[in-house]
Symmetry: C2
Subunit: 304 residues, 2 copies
């Protein structure tokens, strides 16, 4: 299971149909949240994600539309009896932010909220995956994130193993995990039946940003790039001033990075009636482009 | 126009269908907000209330589900170009709250947010109405609010005025506003054609509270009482512990205060499938009881 759900895809101003920014990823049952705009807890309820397995929140920057859902979320999780700590990662200012968060209103939290300040290129290491911070350009301290699974074991050639006289069972696992075994006095090496390690799945989320080379670099061959696509390219001046990207610019990044799929998010309220102009523009540059919308789910399969 | 719209009617934990607490009143075009839970700005968009004419927010207490919508709301109003100050009233702690509010995230507010601390019985005086703070009982500093229009001019008896020889026109207005006039040398007093002053409309919102006598007193003959109705009476122990009211208790308050209509709000998530138990219980005590729900509108007419 590797499922990304868009909880909030609106621009700076929410609309009746688009919430402020939030994306949740369910990876093998663990939940990771990327940004947490106002209303995120309710969107999680609508998406039926649950909250118990949320371990970490990754904040791209401290504009209101990316963070205001956190106080309510942690309050609700506390009411639900959570005792495990919640890890919140973000660019410079995270400690001040967490302090303010905990001072807002009458809270009785039964668990710890831990803030971690990340710099570009910093890596949060977990047993099966990493989350890497990327330099972005939004005029204030900001980060994008790469969620990438570590390499998996190579493909196990079951037929070849049987040919070599290995009986199905525990010896298969030994070979698969890289060990050499002996069957009837004959040495059989893992490399004889196991292919090269296979790459894990990779998703990149930019948060709000101008298009930058560091994203191209970080998103190389990603399964999915979720990029700021606030405006159409006729409003480039505005995008430059507000430090956002146009659909065309996002598609150019996707194309350069050879990603499998591009999702545009942080859609300006000016497209609330019709997102086709954004979509057509992006597709003219990068064919597999889409516009994110509320509660849309994307399941990322292994590529091999 | 005197229209109350429920923006959030959920209990402490929102659900997919019930937002945290917020009520907006449109009185002759001016908007007054009572509590402002997370997601209120988006609910205002869904209710098409606009934001420009919002002058004041009245907070009942500082639990997260009553206040977390304020930061996003003021940020959005600022983006929309607001320059008029916003007045926020609440019980003890309002100044700390406003300070924290303004420190949360990268704000660029173009207008002033003014906090005012109210004590029970304090009155906010406006030209045509008052908002009076009521003592409630929620275990932390808390207030309920009475919004009451000042007395209106009495009914003008147009036929009687014509009988007395007054020509329709500006003299009618003079008489109506209390002045004495002379027509053909004859004195005509206002009291000859104008009835006694008529009471204004009156709405009471309790916020979260145990049932208390101060509400009975404050809600006397109100057009509408919006009362905490979190739980059914079989869960009275829980209501006492959490400092909320049961539907039965709220209905008893409504009955004692002789209000015209009771709306129960702050509905616990345990009734998200079916609110009938709350409704039946309230109606067994006070017939004109209802359960609030999202985007429900109540227009309050003049009673005479």
């Amino acid at each position: 299971m590797f499922k990304l759900t868009f909880l909030g895809t609106g621009g700076t101003l929410p609309t009746a149909n688009r919430n402020p920014s939030a994306i949740i990823i369910n990876r093998k049952g663990e939940l990771l949240l990327f940004d947490c705009g106002e209303g995120t807890q309710q969107q999680m309820m609508r998406a039926k994600t649950g909250m118990k397995n949320l371990t970490s929140v990754f904040i791209t920057h401290y504009h209101a539309d990316h963070i205001l859902g956190i106080p309510g979320l942690i309050q609700t999780m506390s009411f639900q009896g959570r005792t495990e700590p919640l890890h919140i990662y973000g660019p410079r200012w995270i400690h001040e932010f967490v302090n303010i968060l905990l001072a807002l209103g009458y809270y009785k939290l039964n668990f710890e909220v831990k803030g971690y300040e990340l710099q570009p290129e910093d890596v949060v290491e977990r047993s099966e995956y990493v989350v890497k911070a990327i330099k972005t350009d939004h005029g204030i301290p900001s980060l994008g994130y790469v969620l990438e699974e570590k390499e998996r074991l190579g493909k196990f050639d079951r037929e070849r193993a049987i040919e070599l006289g290995v009986p199905p069972g525990p010896l298969f696992s030994k070979l698969h995990s890289g060990k050499t075994i002996f069957v009837g006095g004959k040495e059989i090496k893992s490399s004889q039946v196991v292919g090269p390690p296979r790459r894990g799945r990779k998703v990149v989320y930019t948060g709000d940003t101008r298009p930058v080379d560091t994203i191209v670099e970080a998103a190389k061959n990603a399964d999915l790039l979720v990029h700021d696509g606030t405006l159409t390219h006729d409003l480039l001046d505005w995008a430059i001033e507000a430090k956002h990207s146009t659909a065309k610019e996002a598609a150019e990044i996707a194309s350069k990075a050879c990603v499998a799929e591009l999702m545009l998010t942080h859609v300006s309220s000016r497209y609330s009636e019709d997102t086709k102009p954004l979509l057509m523009e992006a597709r003219s540059v990068f064919k597999n482009s889409h516009i994110a919308k509320e509660l849309m789910e994307i399941v990322i399969p292994y590529q091999d």
